[in-house]
């Protein structure tokens, strides 16, 4: 399970947690998130995220 951080607001997408409030189940890998998904905190696109080691 990897984590990805929003470059704009710092929100962290944790694959283990997902984003259930926006239809992304826990365990969803980054590649499987649709391009239409946006950062839940600031609204930017998936493209504005990068993988982070935490």
């Amino acid at each position: 399970m990897k984590k990805y951080q929003c470059n704009i607001c710092g929100f962290i997408y944790d694959e283990a947690v997902g984003d259930p409030a926006h239809g992304i189940k826990a365990g969803t890998s980054w590649e499987d998130i649709p391009e239409s998904w946006a950062c839940p905190d600031c609204g930017v696109n998936k493209a504005d995220f990068e993988m982070v080691e935490i």
Partner: protein
Amino acid sequence: MNHPVVIVGSGLAGYAVARELRRLDADQPLLLLSADHGGFYSKPMLSNALATGKTPESIINGDAEKMASQLNVSIRTYTRVVAIDKTNRTVILKNNEQLSYGNLVLAIGADQVRLPLQGNGVSKVFTVNDVDDYKHFRDALAGKKKVAIIGAGLIGCEFANDLASAGYHVDVVDIAAQPLGRLIPPAAGAYLKQKLEAVGVVFHFDTSTQSVEQIDNQLCLTLANGKTIRADIVLSSVGLKPRTKMAQEAGLQINRGIVVDQLLQTNDAHIYAVGDCAEVAGKVLPFVMPITHAARALAATLAGNPTPVRYPAMPVLVKTPACSTVVSPPDADKAGVWQVESNDDGVKALFYDDTGCLLGFALLGKAIMDKNDLVAKLPPVLA
């Protein structure tokens, strides 16, 4: 002749428009003009950079050269636009050069408000409005211990938390009776105050800063209540004022910001404004999420598909790790009352109008877990 879309400003708003437009239209020529180095970074990252281990250099995601190639955009750095000639559809640069545009996007941001302070130390007061300011601030912090912050709003609280957690002694002065006075009700303010005090922040409320005098190597703030504060560094964060001067001189309509409709269009059909400089359908919203929505709509419009911006409810996260906080402030002109539930774990403050509709909230501590459920109940900010 096909003149480019010219974007003035390389902050989040300018780059967001460039990126979204490139997604929709691979070929339309795009020229981005930056008054500084033009590197892409996120301004909100500045106020918690110590906690996240970022330096001014590492906050920049990509320099202008990298961004230009990534987005297939021409970028001119250190290129300040000083005037707009809307009759001839040109912008005039500081060196008198004129550049033609097909459509012009003003993404020129806002200035930090400067309070009228007395004293010979006023010129030493820092404001942080961009990454270059932040670099100066960080350089000045090296080896110092005491920081005084003027203003306990969003940015003041975030910097106070970041600096206190990094070991600085932090004093914060605000004319209000609580932190985030414009965004959250008193009970929530009291909770946030207590949590920030617990990490070492010292607040001075219900008073204003009158003067800043340099005494030896320190600055001495004299407050209206007679108290004095000694600090090595003073940071002012009392709010933002949209940059409207150039638009006004060009004959564009301005109010608090550059006036645009839901198409982000000014009263000139070929000039648009977006981000912190813009007043969109009467609203000045200097946050990231409105920029994201506005940039998408504007990109569609510029690509030939006129698209009004619509804002959903857009809660704002306050980056104060000492007290998780998310706010969705109600419109200032809406009547209603706060209903507050408060305990040691947090505060849940909900703002209802007299028909029982939820119009806003402030969630602190554990109450932030209710965010998603509550956002779903809020009306859109701009339908």
